[in-house]
Symmetry: C2
Subunit: 333 residues, 2 copies
């Protein structure tokens, strides 16, 4: 694959997976009403998302913001083009999500021992054992499984996580029979060289496993990382409308890759995202009213490139004067 290929989309399909309703809203202090969540998911699927992470079937004590998981999943429209996935931490969550009609279960563990303990209170081997039970339940129910590996590009407490360790965890889950793996840059530590190398290694080893990249824009590298991943053969990205989300273990960090920033850039580059940018940006623009604070989205702030600005009121006067000066000079010359 040459550089020209990366820098020219040429109509190639890139799959955009919206995680805002789960990964974004779970961080918010405000409880967004069930009706507003359903409207948000419906608007996102209507805008053309390949997948939406609708909610999480977790303890309402742990994450009160998503206590209405069942109502939301049962209440949304189910257009055929959008896979509806739900995060589940355990067998109980998996059973609830399956009963409420999830297309896919998204399982999470961290490849960093420290981060896994902080986030899930388990050693990695404990998480893996617990998730194997969830996988067995999902397989019996005929529901697809994706595993999201947190800190695949580094841990905010440990630092580097060796690529071989990340790939060993991928192998364990591929052996367990999951359909998809998401390499998550949970706190925005990934850089393009690292992304290119890890995606290249993944694609060479597991060509039949669906790979998603999940970037955060903490250090302004979400889009560069997405392009590096595409250069290495990836075609599927998580992103969060408005740039919602973040991580409690990385203070001051900005949120997930912003869906409309990613779609805007990819469309300009000639990629086919299948997403209606105007409809997507409308969802982003509606978020501050729902969550009570501003969002980082550059597209909501500045508008897409195609949205031009009016000339200043004085423009015609300025032009006329310039033209008169030029005519006067020409007559002198």
């Amino acid at each position: 694959m040459n550089a020209q290929h990366v820098w020219n989309g040429g109509g190639r399909r890139i799959y955009i997976q919206e995680v805002g309703p789960r990964d974004g809203l779970q961080m918010e202090k405000v409880f967004v009403s069930t009706a507003d969540k359903i409207a948000m998911v419906n608007a996102l699927s209507a805008a053309g998302m390949a997948k939406v992470e609708v909610t999480a079937f977790v303890s309402p004590t742990a994450i009160p913001a998503l206590a209405d998981a069942q109502e939301v999943l049962r209440g949304i429209e189910r257009p055929s083009g959008t896979v509806m996935t739900c995060l589940v931490p355990n067998v109980k969550g998996a059973e609830r999500a399956m009963a409420a009609g999830a297309d896919e279960l998204n399982l999470v563990m961290s490849v960093s021992e420290t981060h896994n303990l902080c986030n899930l209170r388990m050693l990695r081997t404990q998480s893996f054992a617990a998730l194997q039970e969830v996988i067995a339940v999902a397989q019996r129910g005929g529901v697809a499984i994706n595993v999201s590996l947190s800190c695949s590009f580094g841990c905010p407490m440990e630092g580097d996580v060796p690529a071989d360790e990340v790939l060993a965890w991928v192998q364990s889950f591929v052996d367990a029979g999951v359909q998809g793996i998401t390499l998550c840059d949970t706190t925005g530590m990934a850089h393009p060289t690292q992304v290119h190398a890890l995606v290249t290694a993944f694609k060479a080893r597991w060509p039949g496993t669906t790979l998603t990249l999940h970037f955060h824009d903490t250090r302004a590298m979400a889009l560069p990382n997405a392009l590096a991943a595409i250069a290495a053969g990836a075609d599927r990205f998580d992103a969060s409308v408005g740039g919602l989300g973040g991580c409690p273990y990385a203070p001051g960090a900005s949120g997930n890759a912003c869906t409309e920033e990613l779609v805007h850039a990819l469309q300009l580059m000639g990629y086919d995202t299948g997403v209606d940018l105007t409809a997507l940006t409308r969802v982003a623009a509606s978020l501050p009213a729902l969550i009570g604070h501003d969002i980082p989205s550059a597209i909501v702030k500045a508008g897409p490139v195609q949205q031009l600005h009016p000339r200043p009121a004085s423009f015609e006067q300025v032009r006329t004067r310039a033209q008169e000066r030029m005519q006067a000079q020409q007559q002198q010359g």
Copy 2:
């Protein structure tokens, strides 16, 4: 050039040119004292910048923030590794900048007729004629000349500016004998595919002319655009410490490419920027006290990737409990 080449710096030199003292500060409502400006430029050159745009020799009525151009340029240290450039709009400004010891004069016009009229109150042909006089003065004085072409990737009022028109203006200035050309994405409209194509065309046509790329992060594409430019053979970028700057004709727009975001990413990718990121970030962190408002820099907010976070206070307790649970399970099994 293949994609691998772009995604692995491999120690290649990238030249970082700091424009914050001019392009950044000229937008600020607060007058930053002459002593603070001198300290800022000194800190930036000490941090390893290949070039610093020190100030502009313009009418103090038009840009009061830079009314102390002469004092700043005369007051700064002159380390041999850093070219000190100054923006000049006309012959009078060029003479003042040369008298005060500028290494290089930076001339500006827009390739968009509408933007040029708004910004400089001249038709493009009038600007070109005026700049030819400035070039003649600089050439007699033996000072290098760079020309910055605003709106090279689009105009916020006109929209697209055809690449052929941009390249025709480059040809006119190359014919006039300038050493360097900067293609400016004045309001953040450039996208990587466009950048790759325009830089490729430039490098093929003028291999002996120094090319700088000047991006804005208005729509979150400054870093992706820089990588696209590197992929096409560019090695020289303008950027603004802290992400200072913007454009009065694009409301809501964020600032210039942020120097520390660019340096941070390029260093992680294995490029040699010659910049001390810690020293640079210290300058960025000092800006809010000077200008009275927050700055967009993700590196000031989140710290570089290498700066790890402490584990939560409860960590050892959590780990001990997890280990005890595992031992208990193993004994049961």
